[in-house]
Amino acid sequence: MSQKAFEVFGKIHAEENLKQKTVSFLQEEAAGRMRRRYRAVRAASCCLLLALLFFCGGVFFRLYFTPVAYIDFDVNPSIEFCVNRFGRVIASHAYNDDGKEILEYVNVSHVNYAEAAKRLLDAMEQEGYFRPDTLLSVTVQTGESGREGSMLKSLQEIVAQESEGGVYDIPAEIYAVTEEVKHCAKEHQVSPAKYLAIEGLIEVDPEVDFETCKGHSVHELREMAKNGCVQDGSHHGWENEEDSQEIPEGHHDLWNDGDSQEMQGGHHGWEPGGREDGGHHRQNGRTEPKK
């Protein structure tokens, strides 16, 4: 016997049947694995898509529910709108009971701020808050000058349109306030317009109590400041009326110069002396104080 004996291994061949079965098995296995891989890819894609949706949803939710502007209305109902970057009112708060009553039936949630303002003003008019001796104060606070300008313009147009349509006809002032004023007003739970009016009154009469003044309308506060008397009608007197009525910093009057460009972008000093008679008239679709 020699090494050739090992050639007996050469007689061993893979049977055709075995090869066929193996090929069939491998084809099925390959197809199955492709299917599983496809399923895995599909499942992974779905998960990725879901994650993306959640992420985008989260981002959108955050963007949507982050206020970037505040609009405050003060007639005597005193109301604040929180406006998101899409111009929708995401929250509304009342500073007083009159405001709460109005908000109970006026739906402004997730409505464009212009439409919301219109609804609110209509409701106030219907409730009889717009009397000849009232003043509609609308303030806008936002950190973006472009947005501030467009919001002021839009609110002016709404007030002007409604006034022209005869829906209501009361003096109105629409202006921007700084973040600082808004913050201080918020701390005192009053609208910025009322806060500035009270501040103006305190300058005239330092003994005035902030809490006591909160119940008065902006118009009343201005009148008191103008007359130098508080509640009891006592005169606190000032030598020079104009000097004594300087308005706190951060108040931006839209009506003093009537320049819409400045109204939209600038923060101006407020001069209540310009409204001594409390009356206003409309010019070119805008409500402006009488000169």
Partner: protein
């Protein structure tokens, strides 16, 4: 994963080699079938390229030996190849050849592998060491011991014609 064409070619080229390794290790035909399929399944899933046909063949031989060993290690499949089982193999073996195969199949597994690879496949001891991931000296020792067993059982002049 390899393409169907690659797998078909590999089955056609290396089916006999793989079958022989299965024969050397496994007793039952069902086990051979399972091992055969598993070896080519590993080939199907092996994504690295081979440098040459020789490399591809060596890879398949190593995988085949490992798969067969794993099957034998499995407690569910622990079976020993014996001379009697050769009769069930579907090929004709002469008596003299049967004696040799019987003697080889009775040896420990490692000796069977080195004898088959050395004498039939023609690999050198160095190449077998690479295939089996063993030291060269181990392969020399195994070969020497396997030859000694064959000499004792089958006669002194049995495997003189090839040096390691």
């Amino acid at each position: 994963m390899r393409t169907e064409e690659e797998v078909l070619r590999a089955v056609e080229c290396y089916a006999d080699t793989v079958r022989r390794i299965c024969f050397v290790h496994l007793k039952k035909y069902e086990d051979v079938e399972d091992a055969f399929q598993e070896i080519f399944l590993k080939y199907l899933l092996h994504e690295e390229d081979f440098e040459s046909h020789a490399h591809e063949k060596a890879w398949l031989i190593r995988v085949a030996i490992n798969v067969c060993r794993d099957m034998l290690r499995s407690p569910f499949r622990r079976r020993v190849t014996s001379l009697e089982d050769i009769e069930y193999e579907p090929f004709y073996i002469q008596k003299e050849e049967g004696e040799l195969l019987g003697c080889i199949l009775e040896m420990p597994q490692k000796y069977r592998d080195v004898l088959y690879l050395f004498y039939y496949e023609g690999y050198s001891a160095v190449e077998i060491a690479g295939l089996m991931r063993r030291k060269e000296n181990t392969i020399y020792t195994w070969l020497a011991r396997a030859k000694k067993i064959l000499k004792e059982k089958l006669g002194g002049d049995f495997i003189e014609s090839k040096s390691v």
